[in-house]
Amino acid sequence: MTNNPSVEKPKDLVVSPPPQITGTMSKTRVMAYTFAALLAITIITAILWWPAMTPHPDLDYLGLTGLFAMPLGAILLLNALIAVGVAVVSDFIIGKAAADSEINTMSAAVFGLIVALSYSIGVPTMAMGEMMPISMLSAPGCFIYVALISFIGLVGFKKLQGLKGRKLFNPAATAKLLVLLPFITSTFLIKEHWAPFAEGGLEVPKLASNLVTDYMGTQLTFSGYLQGCYGLPGAEPGSLNSIMLLTKFHGWPGGASSIAVIIIGAILIFFLRDYFKWRITATYFGSAIAMSLIMTGIYGGDPITRLLFELFIGSSIFLGFFMATDPATTPYSRTGQIIFGIGLGVLTVIIQTYMNFFGGALLALVIMNLTVPLLDRIGIHKPFGR
């Protein structure tokens, strides 16, 4: 056997390692499909939210209306533009400045939309009775926070975190928690919302009714509280079922319409198949339902109300489809993904039940992210025939 290095390859033939063909799915396409799904949710929410004006006219006495009163749907669209713009421009600048950084416009755009869709806006009917930071929930205040979350998330948690290879924390969730940390009592904790007005606040474990009295002196049931929180401001609140399933008017725009998220999420899974970690979504909802039923078993109360509360509050529904499945911060193996999903569901319900934490899923996700390196190890299966 001889090897003759003097014989040169003709320049015109491309020599590349096998296989010589690739599948149709590329990174850009995965991101484009995801972006399309998120965009669809953004548009649906913007349309659903158009009738709601913020700040709500009832807030006249605070001197807040007039200046920036605009449809809630328009605020969402502006938020989306800002978040996507900040993410894409930051990604471009970093990509140009750092030699070893890729420019991933599609990926940055997806990230931006997730930021906009997971940023709570809107003003609930009874917000005037709560210590809610109204400037954060409506224009123009929310624009600054959305831009900040998008920037910190992309630079800090997508790019810097990515330098060490595998990312640990979900960039959108972590950036949101970090930026909103100073407002944790007023934005996340249910009890604190009501602390100045109602003794004891809401008791989630028991789904206790008649515990709260609002500032008008009206006694509220637990579901009545939710209806007031998420119903169309100024209008007679619809049934809890229709609010939780069809349209919520406050909170994460991503989960405004639970049913829309479920349908669009299912379509995206159909198109992406195994490029989407749907096992996390399935096990997350499965375990959250199971936990919710267990809680009902322990504390009593209406199982449906509890289910609606645990599954759709704080837009767990959006998180379950679009954030908990972020490929970079979730386990590789199927077993790992299943454990991850179950852990997320169990933690979410525990946090929401015992910590009075609105949107426990967000905190649960960041906690579960920490377990990924471990789950990657235990999820290794033996190969064929071994």
Partner: protein, 427 residues
Amino acid sequence: MPYEHIKEVKDQARITPIEIFPDPKTAIVILNQHSGKPLSPLVAVGDLVEMGQKIADSKERISSPIHSPISGKVVKIGNIYSHCSETFMDAIYIENDGKKTKAKTLLPISESELEKTKPDALLNIIHEAGIIGLGGAGFPTHIKLSPPAEFPIKNLVVNATEGEPYDTADERLLIEKTANLLRGVKVIKKILGNPKVTVATKVSKAEAVPKLQEVFGSEPDTTVIAGHFKYQQGDASVLQKALFGYETPPTKRSYEMGCIVQNVATINAIANAVFEGEPLISRVVAFNGDVVQPKNLLVKIGTPISDVFNQNNIDMKDVRQVVVGGVMMGHAIPTTEAPITKRSSSIIAFSESKNKKEQKQTACIHCAKCISACPVKLHPILIYNAIMKPDMDKAEKLWNKDCIGCGTCSYVCPSRIPLASTIMASR
């Protein structure tokens, strides 16, 4: 487990009958076409050789001789690019005298003599005919068909799945040489002591399936299975799982499970050698890709690949990539001066357009698709990361050596990471 679907590009090629390709002016016969050490030439420059004359052999156990594909004169022993080893290898150059004088290398038997012929005599013919696994592996067939006596063979599988997405040579043999294949199977049955025969093919081979059912259907202990086999199930161990349910560990050979899997082209070559006395000096090669008229050519081993392009009036300026032996597991060759070998099941030409597609490698997005797509249940991206680190201990703990090289992980990777080739190179 669902196997990844790989799109086939065979519609034209599979309906195009085998065409006899003209003999080359100069045949370039590479010295090691089998998987094993190279052979030593039995001829010297200036020697006259006849068609079918043995021109190189080896005393090594795992080896298989080669024969002159044409009659003529040995003009050079020099090196040439070999797609089998992806390096430049020694080869015997024979100038064609156009006389086609045949050497009597093998002593054929008639079909009626098969029953009383001893297995050893049949194995000897197969050995002397230079038959190796024509599916691409190149393992000497006479050795494959001589499993240790403690492993009786219960099943013979005719692997007629031909999953390589552009390859059609086997499919045309199934259609045109069905009876010859049955003769070949009978030879193997005789050698292995009458195992059950399973002919595994795909429903998509619409013309071949009825022919196989007609010819093999009435044979004793023979089953024809036309299944929806996927590309990955063309691998011997993955196919056995589909047919018999068991998983062969990579530490074991098929015969230890009582099974031998033979490829169609190899069986055809066995029949030609045993009953016609023809050593392996030609094979059917699919010519496919971005070509106007895909073909199936019966080409002499040693024919320069450039001859195939010239004869089909293809301007090499339009060709950007030439792949030999299948787009999934074959190799892109740097030069068309390279000759056809026993392992060249196909020549696939791609034009510029194919390479304009998004092929640039980018960072892993951790989608884990490679893990769910691996037909032998490996973790390609984790092995790849370990290799790149490099941490070979970890790569071995993740069973990098179990990779069958099917290329599915690279095919599905949205970031275009060369998973399969990196893992195969690390074995």
